[in-house]
């Protein structure tokens, strides 16, 4: 009896985790993939590992440390690229390795065993707390509202930043806010997929979506659905086969990508022919 209640609770937690992960990763992922910011997001992910290490060492929540590191490095990279004082890809490469180095040093210096370290690196649903699922749920709501309210603002800036800058002084502000939300998405999803693999959780679903449609709104919708299919299946397989969850999710997502790619090829449907999901035009 207690076992079935535990299992029931675990299934609910898994499903909610999968849902929130796919919503946040679908929205943030569509933004980074269409803006070609995948490498930058990889940099943010690995830089945030520095925060995880400092969290362990100083005895506060590693997730909080990761969030702080993630947001600061994201803003730092955006700032440097706006100022054009340094090549952006070099800045990312440096921050990427520096974050990992800081993380490793502080975890090494932390006395005793670092609990859940493997969970941070490769993802582990068992150690995800209810509070972390709730945080991901809140972030999902924030992102949904943000993308609805600022939909046009986001696509105008992404399509032609120079033109937007001509007519608005708020372009950088919006970029900084959006990038911070991306960093938060990455950090909260690290618990789901792990530092090493989280970037694929953001990158693969929009790429599956872009095989099916070219409309920004539909890319988001398909990405969320593909993400949910991938994460939910990944969780189930991981649970029954005992394989780390992050790896299982990414593996599943790549399989979905291959299947969709082959289906689109055989159906003779390029991305110009939308497989339409009805969405209201805004």
């Amino acid at each position: 009896m207690t076992e079935s209640i535990f299992q029931y609770g675990f299934i609910i937690k898994s499903l909610l985790g999968a849902l929130f992960a796919s919503i946040t990763a679908g929205l943030a992922g569509t933004y980074i993939v269409t803006r070609r910011m995948v490498f930058l997001s990889g940099g943010i992910t690995h830089a945030s590992f520095g925060g995880i290490g400092i969290g362990y060492f100083a005895g506060f929540s590693p997730v909080a440390g990761a969030a702080l590191f993630g947001i600061l490095s994201a803003l730092g990279i955006e700032y440097l690229s706006v100022r054009q004082k340094i090549r952006e890809d070099s800045a990312i490469g440096i921050l990427w390795a520096f974050g990992m180095a800081v993380g490793i040093i502080f975890i090494w210096l932390t006395p005793g065993y670092a609990p859940n370290l493997m969970g941070y690196l490769f993802g582990s649903l068992l150690t995800v707390t209810n509070a972390e699922i709730a945080a991901l749920g809140i972030l999902s709501l924030i992102l949904i509202f943000y993308f609805i309210i600022f939909y046009r603002t986001i696509i105008y800036i992404s399509f032609d930043e120079e033109f937007a800058r001509t007519y608005s002084p708020y372009v950088n502000t919006i970029k900084y806010i959006t990038t911070s939300l991306i960093a938060l998405t990455i950090v909260l999803n690290i618990r789901m997929a792990g530092v090493v693999l989280v970037i694929s959780l953001l990158t693969i679903p929009p790429n599956i979506a872009m095989l099916l449609t070219r409309s920004y709104r539909r890319i988001i919708l398909w990405a969320v659905m593909a993400g949910f299919a991938g994460t939910a299946t990944g969780y189930a397989v991981s649970y029954f086969a005992g394989i780390p969850v992050g790896a299982t999710i990414i593996f599943t997502l790549v399989i979905i990508w291959v299947i969709v790619k082959v289906m689109v090829r055989f159906a003779g449907k390029g991305p110009s022919k939308d497989l339409r999901i009805p969405v209201r035009n805004r």
């Binding site: 696509i155 399509f159 120079e162 608005s168 110009s272």
Partner: protein, 247 residues
Amino acid sequence: MSQLFEIVSLAAAYNGNIVLEEINFSVNENDFIGVIGPNGGGKTTLLRVILGLVKPLKGSVIFNTELLTSKQIGYLPQLQTGDLTYPVTVMDVLLSGLMIRKGLFAPMTGPDRKKASEVIEELGLAGMRDTHMNELSGGELQRVLLGRAVIGDPKLLLLDEPGNFVDTNFENDFYGKLCELNNRMAILMVSHDIGTISAYVKSFACVNRTLHYHPSSEITNEQLLAYGCPIQLITHGDVPHTVLKHH
């Protein structure tokens, strides 16, 4: 003829180098001015000063606010600024032109979409509202970007090298469209294709650190000297011919 704005003893810099000095210049309603001059001579900087994107080191741009405010300036930048593979449609891009008067955050309303549909028709792009930017030909792309610049009903239109991405098939079409627009707005067009634009513009401004205004569209030797190198000049007459400056 009423004046839209006046530039008074203006100096401006680009990347720390002074590129414009002692500029005195004014633009009136219905002007169609070709801005010519060598690369690096300050043509684009002049447009950016008028748009308020570059702060003058000295002097000022004075708007006749009864006829022109900074929200009534349409701008067609050089093409390279946009990401054409980005998933946006012709409609999206045209609506983005309404930023000119509505700012970056205003929601789009029914009338906005109606206006965009009108511009799509007017530019001969009927049936393409949901077409994606990377599916357009050069000429179509150019017209969409022109539409983005004029959808906000500007009183002044600034064009930066529109000929750079002209599909030759659409060239006459495009400049013809500009002449039509010129009935509703003043146009300032940066170009180095003097020969082509001389058939359309009403006057010239030669910019090479300083500005010389020539109130007719005929090109003189003096204007060609601004280039400091041999220039090929093609005139549009009954008999097409090419004039090469002595070299």
